[in-house]
């Protein structure tokens, strides 16, 4: 579809309409404040629901029919089963069998297991995807094979879009490791236990119809009700909703790569030297190998100095859980559990608290938790000389990651990106990022194995590292060093068609993802 492009406040060319609907170009941080009310779902009445509270329906297809599925509807799923998800694929098998076409699929994230759905993109069952596109789906979309325009949102941005009515969900399908016939559900027990269902919260509140799918039906009441049955229309029991070993790993492992360990150690030392690690501080570190290792180095420093953290934000894992249990951390405020220890702890420990994108990340709310965190450790595929960063695409233009909570976490007091200077010859620091996901003014520190670059806006941090033995360099020096080793990369040949847009946390369009020339 031909659409007009404008240059937004970040200097990126973005479309003014996306999938036929008007879109607001990015205006700057904190600039766009919509003056209207939130989306209001229709009023339901108990008269239309079983008086005994039993909302069980025999099969997904039946539930979809009762929910009034039609061509062109918007259907959502969630990624709390990660690469072990069996819900989305079963769901689209059912939709396909019903002969329904042109579905807008809104997953909170997709995983390689969803490569299965390419056939439904090809045969017209799915029109396009609004949600992260990884692996095979990312390749499919990047090569321009998807009909509509993809929309990439952060976890907080997804909540915001649903809440604001920017993204109206007709049918939400929520996979639940434990649920009762009324629709109360949680992620804490059952063969597909994943910890929590926070990513599905917005859908349960705002979707027109909500279907809970479980492989572990329990009698009422299912406690705790992370998803409240009062929002739920139908409950479906199926044989399997997930592959346990792919949902949470039995054991999370810290990286063994000496280079990554070095990066992690340098990051922790930076936080120590600059006084970020202090009594009562808070931190968030992801589940990647390097991030896990940063957490472990934090632990060592905290133990040595007798420092306690007030809270840590999850993705939780056994390392974070052990810090909680050792008393090094007062609370874990958790967005997702990455291993069985995380699930166990969340079920047992009242100080291990499940959160949602509403509490943690939603930008159109009366504050959120992300901004309160003292330091957050994040990844990036590319960073440019203005500290702008990319997390969704590869330097060759292919989509390869979702945004996740990444954009939302940029509101933390100090944002640190530990990245290798180059990955298999591909330099991470570029003149200009292929896709802009995070404005440079929000990114404070880039740690590489060959030096640390501090954003010149953070004069306070630059002062604190003066006279220390930390290897401080400018970002331009790091880029030069990478290019001296790898060679200067040729400009990537991307096409001129927009295949997806990246939304900022306020729903405005931050950047376009362009079709890759094949």
């Amino acid at each position: 579809m031909k659409t007009d492009l404008v240059k937004n406040a970040a200097g990126r060319l973005v479309p003014v309409t996306v999938n036929g609907e008007p879109a607001v170009p990015y205006q700057g941080i904190g600039k766009y404040k919509p003056q209207k009310n939130k989306h209001a779902p229709r009023i339901a009445t108990c008269a239309d629901y079983p008086s005994d509270g039993n909302k069980l329906v025999p099969g997904l297809k039946e539930a979809l029919v009762r929910a009034g599925i039609r061509n062109g509807m918007t259907v959502s799923t969630h990624h709390h089963f990660r690469d072990g998800d069996l819900v989305a694929n079963q769901l689209f098998d059912a939709i396909h069998e019903l002969g329904i076409k042109d579905i807008r699929w809104v997953p909170s994230a997709s995983f390689p297991c969803h490569g299965y759905l390419i056939k439904y993109l090809e045969d017209g069952t799915i029109h396009h995807i609004e949600g992260s596109m990884n692996g095979p789906l990312g390749k499919f979309a990047s090569e321009g094979k998807m009909r509509g325009t993809g929309v990439l949102r952060s976890h907080g941005g997804r909540y915001q879009a649903i809440q604001d009515g920017e993204l109206k969900i007709d049918i939400a399908v929520i996979g639940a490791p434990a649920a009762d016939p009324f629709g109360n559900a949680n992620g804490l027990s059952g063969p597909s236990a994943c910890g929590l269902l926070g990513f599905a919260l917005a859908d349960s509140q705002y979707a027109d119809r909500v279907i809970v799918v479980t492989d572990n039906l329990v009698p009422f009441p299912c406690i705790p009700w992370q998803i409240q049955g009062n929002y739920v229309d139908y409950v479906v029991e199926v044989e399997h909703i997930g592959i346990p070993e792919k949902i949470v790993s039995g054991t999370t492992r810290i990286t063994k790569s000496p280079d990554r360990l070095y990066l992690a150690e340098l990051t922790a030392r930076f936080c120590d030297v600059t006084g970020i690690i202090r009594d009562g501080f808070s931190f968030q570190s992801g589940a990647g190998g390097t991030s896990l290792a940063v957490g472990e180095y934090f632990r060592q420093i905290m133990k040595e100095r007798g420092i306690k953290a007030r809270f840590a934000r999850g993705g939780s894992n056994k390392y974070l859980v052990s810090m909680l249990e050792e008393g090094l951390v007062d609370y874990i405020l958790d967005g997702q559990t990455f291993d069985l220890e995380g699930v166990r702890s969340m079920a047992e420990n009242p100080r291990h608290v499940w959160t949602s994108p509403f509490t943690s990340y939603n930008y159109h709310g009366k504050g959120n938790f992300a901004g309160m965190v003292d330091v957050v450790i994040l990844g990036a595929t590319e960073i440019d000389l203005e500290f702008n960063a990319n997390v969704v695409s590869h330097s060759d233009g292919y989509l390869l990651h979702g945004i996740g909570g990444w954009q939302n976490c940029l509101f933390s007091k100090t944002v640190i990106l530990p990245v290798p200077l180059f990955r298999d010859r591909v330099p991470v620091i570029r003149d200009r990022v292929t896709t802009l996901c995070g404005p440079g003014e929000m990114i404070d520190v880039v740690v590489t194995e060959r030096g640390i670059a501090i954003n010149p806006l953070r004069k306070d941090l630059l002062d604190k590292v003066k006279g220390t033995d930390l290897p401080i360099r400018t970002i331009a020096e790091l880029k030069e060093e990478a290019e001296a080793v790898c060679g200067v990369p040729e400009t990537s040949g991307v096409g001129d068609r927009v295949i997806a847009v990246v939304k900022w946390v306020d729903g405005t369009v931050l950047d376009s993802v362009w079709q890759v020339r094949t």
């Binding site: 000496p258 280079d259 360990l261 070095y262 330097s395 060759d396 233009g397 990955r423 298999d424 010859r425 591909v426 194995e449 060959r450 033995d469 080793v485 790898c486 060679g487 990369p489 040729e490 990537s492 040949g493």
Partner: protein, 404 residues
């Protein structure tokens, strides 16, 4: 004829496989399959074409399967393949990094020396950032016999193109006399120290030194090339002192306990009872010859506590360093062999006395009633530099108040 060099496959990174088929016509045909095609495809093709022109090969089919190999790796793989098609091609050398042009010296500290498999580029690229005292590009046990030829080319290119970050530039050659073939690939490229494995005869060292001298002269190499024989057999242990004295270039002896214990017909134990004699004998031989004694590698990478205990014992026996096989071992080894407080205190006094004597124009340095020889001053300076480098004392230690 179809020939190959390098590595490809699912788990290979930062390397490439070059397959070459000679032809009588058709020019140079390049088939490139690269994971960095979009960013470096054109420059890889250009490099291959340049190489083939340089080798004087006008007709060939070349397939490059690339997993993000850096240019010096592609050049090495291309040359190693071309050498199998055409003998006597010129060396296709990457530029020598300016930052690699620094000297070594016999007494430098050799607490840690990191082994890097000579045919695995991925492990070489960032090894220097872990700051080992020495980086060893290994042509011996970590390279399969069929891959020795291509590894030599890669090691040569790595000596030029990989930053060593100030580490001593070491190569472990193959056991003498097979190692003779390795020398032309390393001597002209600023290697500091050769590790000579399974050494058990001073004659080997003398022969080796003569070959090194010839190559040095041919290439106008002025800097010394030091030798570190590795003693790995019962006979070697018996000959240790004579090996230590066999050349002025021998700066250290290292012991290799895996082969040694096999030679004894026993196995390495945690307590090391079986190697106590050999290790003591080696230390004694080294001290008698005024060179460094270097201990065997500790092979359980995950067991840092065991490593620390072993180093404590090793330092007590008189060893001054240890080989390592994983960068994680480096900080533990450095902390273990670092000068103790008493040693630093003594060095501090000597350096201060020396600097005071120098500023007063005195020819003689003394601490208390004791005269200090220049080599002692030099050693004391090194200890203080090291203590600063390791963060044990501050850079400003000269100006800091100190109780005397």
């Amino acid at each position: 004829m179809i020939v190959q060099a390098g590595n490809a496959g699912k788990d290979i990174r930062s390397d490439c496989l070059v397959e070459m088929e000679s032809a009588d016509s058709g020019g140079i045909r390049i088939e490139l399959d690269s994971r960095v095609e979009r960013m470096y495809g054109a420059s890889i093709r250009k490099l291959v074409e340049e190489g083939m022109r340089y080798f004087g090969i006008s007709h060939a089919r070349i397939r490059v399967e690339d997993q993000g190999a850096l240019p010096f790796v592609i050049m090495a793989r291309l040359e190693a393949a071309a050498r199998q098609i055409k003998k006597d091609i010129p060396e296709f050398l990457p530029p020598m990094l300016k930052e690699n042009e620094y000297p070594s010296f016999p007494e430098r500290h050799r607490f840690s020396r990191l082994y890097l498999p000579g045919n695995t580029p991925k492990m070489m690229l960032n090894a220097g950032i872990h700051k080992p005292h020495g980086m060893i590009l290994d042509l011996e046990d970590s390279v399969a016999p069929a891959r020795k030829a291509e590894a030599r080319v890669l090691v040569r290119n790595a000596l030029r193109a990989v930053s060593f970050y100030g580490a001593e530039r070491m190569v472990r050659i193959n056991q003498w006399p097979a190692g003779r073939e390795d020398l032309p690939y390393v001597i002209p490229h600023r290697v500091h120290t050769l590790l000579v494995p399974k050494c058990e005869d001073p004659e080997q060292i003398m022969e080796l030194e003569a070959v090194v001298e010839t190559i040095k002269k041919d290439h106008g190499v002025k800097e010394p090339v030091f030798l570190m024989p590795i003693i790995e057999s019962a006979l070697g242990v018996e000959m240790a002192y004579r090996i230590a004295c066999s050349s002025k270039q021998v700066v250290a002896l290292a012991i290799g306990l895996e082969d040694y214990t096999a030679d004894l017909g026993t196995r390495r134990s945690d307590e090391g009872t079986e190697s106590f004699y050999a290790r003591s004998r080696l230390v004694n031989a080294c001290k008698a010859a005024r060179i460094q004694a270097i201990d065997s590698v500790f092979s359980d990478v995950a067991d840092t506590e065991g490593l620390a205990r072993t180093i404590e014992h090793s330092k007590q026996l008189g060893f001054e360093g240890m080989g390592c096989i994983h960068p994680r071992q480096i900080p533990v080894i450095h902390a273990g062999y670092a000068p103790g407080n008493e040693e630093i205190e003594k060095a501090r006094k000597i350096v201060l006395a020396y600097e005071e004597a120098e500023s007063k124009g005195l020819g003689v340095v003394s601490v208390g009633t004791k005269m200090i020889d220049p080599p002692v001053v030099k050693r004391a300076l090194r200890i203080m530099d090291l203590a600063v480098e390791m963060g044990i004392v501050s850079k400003e230690w000269r100006n800091e108040p100190h109780e005397d």
